[in-house]
């Protein structure tokens, strides 16, 4: 039976028990029968009075909810991922992996250098498009400006990967307040800044995914990395909280906690420490950045994942006595 949409509203304020955003419409059939229906948020921005479609029933524990599906409206457009620290290391691998999956990529990084150019080229070779955004994640104004640029370039933001991170290692007693602040500002405040700036765009699109790149160091600590460990633990608290706050708007938030990944950051660790580390873990090698990227892609695709920290660490956490 064909139903015509005669009026509709996009609800941006979630209400229990559904705690979700969606559109609500009134539809009418040829016999003049009217029904109130729900319309999935993926159609936000594309509904029009007079559209026709069908009504199906969607089972829920609260009852069978009538769902209007407009005809001839593609549910998915091209999707956009913003990857901070996306020019190099893990961020570059994630950018390229998501480009292969059809995402348009906003590569945000502090510097447009040769590595950045190579990443942009790789995204293009993967058949997608990239925009480079010069962004200092530790400064909100810079983030806001960068996010606006992405939105104006690509029209939407579906995925944010808070990957930008730095280290300034030292034993706590030798760690200057500047070393502490710098790491917290980039790794933790940066994730808050970016999450805050992209959330309105995600809500407007009807949802999104935020992935925070934490670290096993945030779970088990590490000598010489008080600032880094605190920032990565902080990302876990941020993940849990945002996952609760943003779920009603269709935004999922997940953290990953990699072990040592084969990047310049890990290779900067003194060799004896790296060797000792490998002796203590069940699979004694470094993780490839591409392996992290595959997990990120899975988190985006698997809509049941929310508010968790996924270690990707070759078994480091099970081998650790936290000492």
């Amino acid at each position: 039976m064909v139903w015509k949409l005669i009026t509709y509203t996009e609800l941006y304020t979630p209400v229990p028990p559904y705690k979700s955003i969606y559109a609500i419409g009134i539809v009418e059939n040829e016999e003049g029968v009217k029904r109130v229906v729900r319309i999935d948020r993926k159609f936000f921005g594309r509904l029009k009075t007079g559209m026709v479609g069908e009504v199906t029933e969607s089972w829920s524990v609260f009852g069978n909810i009538p769902l209007f599906i407009p005809s001839g409206v593609e549910a998915r457009e091209e999707k956009v991922a913003l990857v901070t620290g996306g020019a190099r290391g893990i961020g570059a691998a994630i950018s390229i992996e998501l480009a292969k999956s059809g995402y348009l990529i906003a590569v945000a990084d502090i510097l447009r250098d040769t590595e950045a150019e190579n990443t942009i080229k790789a995204i293009s070779n993967a058949g997608s498009k990239a925009v480079f955004v010069e962004m200092d994640v530790s400064r909100y104004e810079s983030v806001e400006e960068g996010v606006k640029k992405v939105a104006s370039e690509f029209g939407r933001i579906d995925v944010l990967v808070n990957n930008a991170g730095i280290t300034k290692d030292s034993y706590m007693q030798r760690m200057s307040p500047d070393m502490w602040d710098a790491v917290i500002r980039v790794n933790l405040t940066g994730a808050y800044n970016c999450s805050r700036a992209v959330t309105p765009y995600m809500i407007k699109n009807g949802g999104g995914v935020i992935i925070n790149v934490s670290s096993i160091v945030g779970l088990i600590g590490n000598v010489g990395q008080a600032n880094y460990a605190a920032s990565k633990s902080g990302l876990i608290g941020l993940t849990y909280t945002l996952a609760k706050e943003l779920a009603p708007y269709g935004v999922r938030v997940v953290a990953i906690a990699p072990g040592f990944v084969k990047t310049r950051m890990a290779l900067a660790v003194p060799t004896p420490i790296l060797r000792d580390y490998l002796r203590r873990i069940p699979i004694p090698r470094l993780i490839e950045p591409e392996e992290i990227a595959k997990l990120v892609r899975h988190i985006i695709e698997n809509e049941a994942l929310n508010g968790i920290v996924i270690p990707i660490d070759l078994g480091t956490t099970i081998s650790s006595l936290k000492a």
Partner: protein, 383 residues
């Protein structure tokens, strides 16, 4: 038999009151008795009608005997009424009918709601949502969305813009500045309304009435001149209904219950809209006030917004509407709302409205509706 309002009392409405709900009830009960010009004794109250939408908004049920006990446990009878946002109007309707029948001589109406009893607006909206049609509850449509469906249909049919709806919010906030009882005394501009976030497109935060705590009380009497030389006489009270679901209605842009109740009230009172000097109407959302203008015969269909644009319903206009600030600025503590509207007209017709006094107001009208207009009470008052 003539029936008049002989006293009114209201707390200042608040967004989040520190008062306990029982203290709010006691305060308005004592206040309204104290305010009777020639005095009234507790045992002269024959009937108590308590207006309260939900025990989730205050944590109390069975409140009529609490009030009666507080009055001294005489032979007074009482009960609570719930009719969504028109619980107060319904209490008025019942009191008026009881008094006209001669069963009672004096009725005390107490309306209250402490909406901040629930911790978040999400939970508050869930409770309010239950006043819709079960199909609307099933799809998860809060009231703002139901009014948004009406607003979207109205805007599309009559070419009205969001900026036009905003004029109602601006007017009522301007009025609220003169009312010390208003919960949000804040001047706003059309730009402020347009910049406020969408709650349910096309309605924004500033198109919506306030989640409020408040209590108000009235005493109605069939021997009004025994208690005051300046009673406000009830010329008519009419109640009508519409289908509860917006989707059930032939015309999504009309509020049939308001139209019917208005027509009956004007007919009973022998008056026309032109005779009204001041009105308090149910501006739960900006779109509602515009449609109410049309339903009450103040404007043709689709032209309601002209009244505010041309200043007809502004404070200095021909028929000031919501001089109290309305639900938008004064607030909307559900059970108290209709009671507070009558209190405002009582003060206006007695010339006691201070800075917000409409000059020479002799005839006043209250329109209070519930749900998206499934029930409407229209009452007309005169000196």
């Amino acid at each position: 038999m003539e029936v008049g309002v002989i006293s009114a009392y209201s707390l200042k409405y608040e967004l989040r009151t520190p008062k306990e709900v029982w203290d709010m009830i006691k305060e308005v009960t004592e206040g309204v008795i104290r305010k009777v010009d020639k005095g009234i004794s507790e045992e002269e109250i024959d009937l108590v009608i308590v207006s309260n939408f939900s025990d989730r908004f205050g944590g109390l049920l069975h409140t009529a005997p609490l009030v009666i006990s507080h009055l001294g446990l005489n032979s007074t009878k009482g009960f609570r009424v719930e009719n969504a946002c028109v619980s107060g109007g319904t209490a008025l309707y019942l009191a008026w009918n009881f008094l006209k029948s001669g069963l009672v001589r004096n009725v005390l109406i107490v309306g209250f709601e402490k909406m901040s009893y629930l911790p978040s607006s999400m939970e508050i909206n869930e409770v309010l949502m239950l006043a819709g049609h079960p199909d609307e509850v099933l799809v998860g449509s809060p009231f703002v969305s139901l009014y948004a469906l009406i607003a979207a249909a109205y805007m599309s049919k009559y070419g009205v813009k969001e900026e036009d709806l905003a004029l109602i919010a601006v007017k009522n906030h301007e009025n609220g500045l003169r009312n010390p009882l208003a919960a949000m005394q804040k001047k706003i501009s059309v730009e402020d309304v347009m910049k406020s976030p969408y709650i349910s497109w096309p309605l924004k935060l500033y198109d919506s009435s306030l989640i409020t705590d408040g209590a108000a009380a009235l005493i109605l009497s069939s021997e009004p001149r025994k208690y005051t030389d300046a009673p406000v006489m009830i010329r008519a009270v009419a109640m009508h209904h519409d289908h509860p679901g917006v989707f059930q209605r032939d015309d999504l842009t009309a509020l049939r219950a308001v139209k019917k109740a208005g027509e009956e009230a004007f007919r009973s009172a022998g008056l026309t809209p032109k005779d009204i000097d001041v009105m308090e109407v149910h501006d739960a959302f900006t779109i509602a006030e515009i449609i109410v203008y049309e339903m009450l015969g103040l404007a043709n269909r689709g032209r309601g917004v002209d009244l505010v644009r041309n200043g007809v319903t502004t404070f200095n206009g021909e028929i000031p509407v919501n001089p109290s600030g309305g639900l938008k600025s004064k607030g909307h503590p559900i059970g108290a709302t209709g009671v507070g509207m009558v209190a405002e007209i009582y003060w206006q017709l007695r010339g006691e409205a201070d800075q917000r006094q409409v000059p020479d107001a002799e005839v006043g009208l209250v329109e209070n509706h519930g749900g998206t207009g499934a029930t409407s009470v229209v009452a007309i008052f005169g000196r």
